[in-house]
């Protein structure tokens, strides 16, 4: 496993169909690979290269630039504590230290049982709700140290699986463009002036002169 499963291959082809150039689908397909395996494997990158008409090295080049793509296994739950400015001054660093103690690991590492990976992250756009964190990119706003411990307990006990899927799954709702409603891709190599613009252009010029 690691190349796309038949189901995921179908999803991959649907994603590819929405871009005028296949390479644009690289990041969405890397997300799909990470959803399938929990991290991005070399085989998945090779498969993505085939699908996007690029090379595995090009896919790796893109993949390695982005923090969300993990090229080795991480915990089922990725806990990202924000310590950037608004959180820093509202206790974000204390929250991170507390998380390190509760989980028994340093930021940047994974618990031995593979359940949690802890990260010290940059602003996650919840600054007015500081201190805050994300578990697999689901938010916890204004979280106290006691609430953090309760969250860890709940995650360990499997109580939050409905809200928080395992690492790799991002949005659980996907876009689908119905074939009969699609306008189609705009080919960068040449497309005519859009009809609605062309149809009204002479009038518009007439009106302004």
């Amino acid at each position: 496993m690691s190349r796309f499963s038949p189901d995921n291959l179908r999803t991959a082809l649907e994603i590819l169909s929405r871009y005028p150039r296949a390479k644009s689908a690289t990041i969405p397909l890397l997300h799909l690979a990470q959803e399938q395996d929990g991290w991005v494997t070399d085989d998945a990158m090779a498969h993505i290269a085939e699908l996007t008409g690029t090379t595995p090295a090009q896919v790796l080049g893109t993949c390695s630039f982005y923090e969300m793509f993990k090229r080795e296994p991480v915990g089922t739950y990725l806990v990202n504590v924000c310590t950037n400015i608004s959180c820093q001054i509202m206790g974000g660093e204390e929250l991170l230290h507390h998380a390190e103690q509760t989980l028994g690991i340093k930021a940047g590492s994974t618990t031995p049982d593979g359940t949690f990976t802890l990260e010290d992250v940059e602003c996650i756009a919840a600054c007015t709700e500081a201190p805050c964190l994300q578990v697999n990119y689901r938010y916890r706003h204004k979280i106290t140290l006691a609430e953090f411990d309760a969250l860890v307990d709940d995650l360990r006990a499997g109580k939050l699986t409905d809200e928080i899927p395992a690492h790799g799954t991002l949005a659980r709702i996907r876009q689908h463009i119905p074939a009969d409603r699609a306008a189609g891709n705009a080919d960068p190599a040449g497309a005519p002036e859009p009809v609605w613009l062309a149809a009204t252009a002479p009038d518009a010029e007439g009106a302004s002169s």
Binding site: I27, S86, I124, C127, N185, W196
Partner: protein
């Protein structure tokens, strides 16, 4: 205080628990702006937006209608790329707009595509925002089914697809040319401008309009109510309403939609309906007026209105509408280090002054905080800044491909010039500053502040 009773334009549905649904959107006037736009010629929609003088809300504050006009005539296809990468520290409003009112954004995208003649739109949502991605996906699916997007929209000859695209974690991808590189499947390295101004040579080197989420969310209201009604709100160059996130040491941190141009910093920080004052009865020490990249302001600036030009004259900016409030107990050296660490981590590495400079700024600040600072370090820090942005002036001079490099110098110049004593306390010795720092916001405290400190 000038807390105005201007109508909410973009957060008007935030009070509904089902504000993100198509039913609620349509029941509250949704897709009427699109209908109104389709009844006009595209050029007239552009005029309406120019009349509104809607400034971009992503950071640079460029007028949207003017930007749209930069697409070279006769070159097609044109693309629209929505910048939903919100990651400037302190900034929190685009995520809310995407989670709570995705249809309003979609309608704004459609209006912009119709007006500019874009044949395809890409909605780039920051990777870490799973709920926003879900809400937008659902909204797009529902809007397609209802005939608001796709082929022959509302039975007209206007056809466009909107493609939802997720990022994957990189602040620099918020920069518009980095965003385009990322959308092409590459590392998010910014492109050199010129020649790569997106409106001329953007996605796939075709004319591309990049607009911020909040900018586009204003369009349904503008087209429905007219550009003049929008321009009647606000003052001078800053028209309409605007979202500001007020975070840090206030009693009620929150995201507030306020009248642009007339509301003051004091209103936003102290009015009971907004920030509610500094928590714990403390004094205000400083605030960041426009996100991590903006030079800091101080208590003597509280009565300045949130007006782009006025704030620009002070030597800073409203940027992404992110106000971070520091009370009297804040350790400004540590705050400075944290901001610099952000820029050092997020530098894409393409330009030497930014890549090396931010790294060294972080290392020197770290040694100061660790108690190993040297008296000459403050001059050294400013010298490194001077190499990234000559003279530390405003508007900043740029030695790099994109503005991230110079942004990293603003917390350093702000903190050292204003709070030199705090650095000296860490270093344990006085230091002399010889590097010239020109930006008007980078100044020593006024005499009355120094006097109060001496007492």
């Amino acid at each position: 205080m000038a807390v105005t009773d201007a109508p909410k334009i973009i957060s008007s549905r935030f009070g509904y628990t089902d504000s993100h649904t198509l039913e609620r959107y349509v029941a509250t006037g949704g897709y009427k702006g699109l209908e109104a736009a389709l009844a006009k010629k595209p050029a007239d929609v552009v005029e309406e937006v120019k009349t509104a003088s809607l400034l971009g809300r992503g950071g640079a504050g460029f007028p949207a209608g003017v930007k749209w006009g930069f697409c070279p005539p006769g070159v097609f296809p044109r693309y629209l790329v929505v910048n939903g990468d919100e990651s400037e520290p302190g900034t929190y409003k685009d995520r809310l707009l995407m989670e709570k009112d995705p249809h309003q954004l979609i309608e704004g995208v459609l209006i912009a595509c119709y007006a500019v003649g874009c044949a395809q739109a890409f909605l780039y949502v920051r990777g870490e925002m799973a709920l926003a991605q879900e809400r937008i996906a659902q909204a797009l699916n529902d809007a397609y089914a209802a005939g608001h997007i796709g082929k022959n929209i509302h039975g007209s000859d206007f056809s466009v697809d909107i493609v939802l695209h997720w990022g994957a974690g990189a602040y620099i991808v918020g920069e518009e040319t980095g965003l385009i590189e990322s959308l092409e499947g590459n590392r998010g390295l910014p492109r050199l401008k010129p020649p790569f101004f997106p409106a001329a040579k953007g996605l796939y080197l075709q004319p591309t309009i990049v607009n911020n989420v909040e900018t586009l969310a204003n369009l349904p209201w503008i087209v429905t109510n007219g550009g003049a009604a929008f321009a009647a709100l606000g003052a001078e160059n800053s028209k309409g309403m605007r979202m500001f996130a007020v975070s840090g040491h206030v009693k009620n941190p929150g995201v507030f939609e306020v009248e642009f141009g007339v509301t003051t910093f004091r209103d936003l920080l102290y009015a009971p309906v907004y920030g509610g004052g500094i928590r714990g009865g403390k004094q205000l020490k400083a605030f960041i007026p426009g996100g991590a990249s903006a030079p800091w302001l101080y208590p003597e600036h509280l009565d300045v209105p949130l007006e782009a030009g006025t704030v620009g004259k002070l030597g800073t900016m409203l940027g992404s509408g992110a106000i971070v409030v520091f009370d009297e107990d804040t350790d400004m050296v540590k705050a400075c280090l944290r901001l610099v660490r952000f820029f050092a981590r997020e530098s894409c590495g393409k330009c030497t002054p930014c890549r090396e400079g931010t790294t060294w700024l972080e290392k020197i600040l770290e040694r100061i905080v660790d108690g190993h600072g040297r008296p000459e370090d403050l001059d050294l820090l400013l010298d490194v800044c001077d190499n990234i942005s000559v003279g530390m002036n405003w508007p900043p001079k740029q030695t790099t491909i994109c503005p991230l490099g110079q942004s990293a110098t603003t917390p350093v110049a702000s903190a050292i010039m204003r709070f030199q004593d705090e650095f000296e306390a860490y270093i344990g010795a006085p230091s002399e500053i010889t590097v010239e720092v020109k930006g008007p916001a980078f100044t020593r405290p006024p005499e009355h502040v120094l006097e109060a400190a001496r007492d």
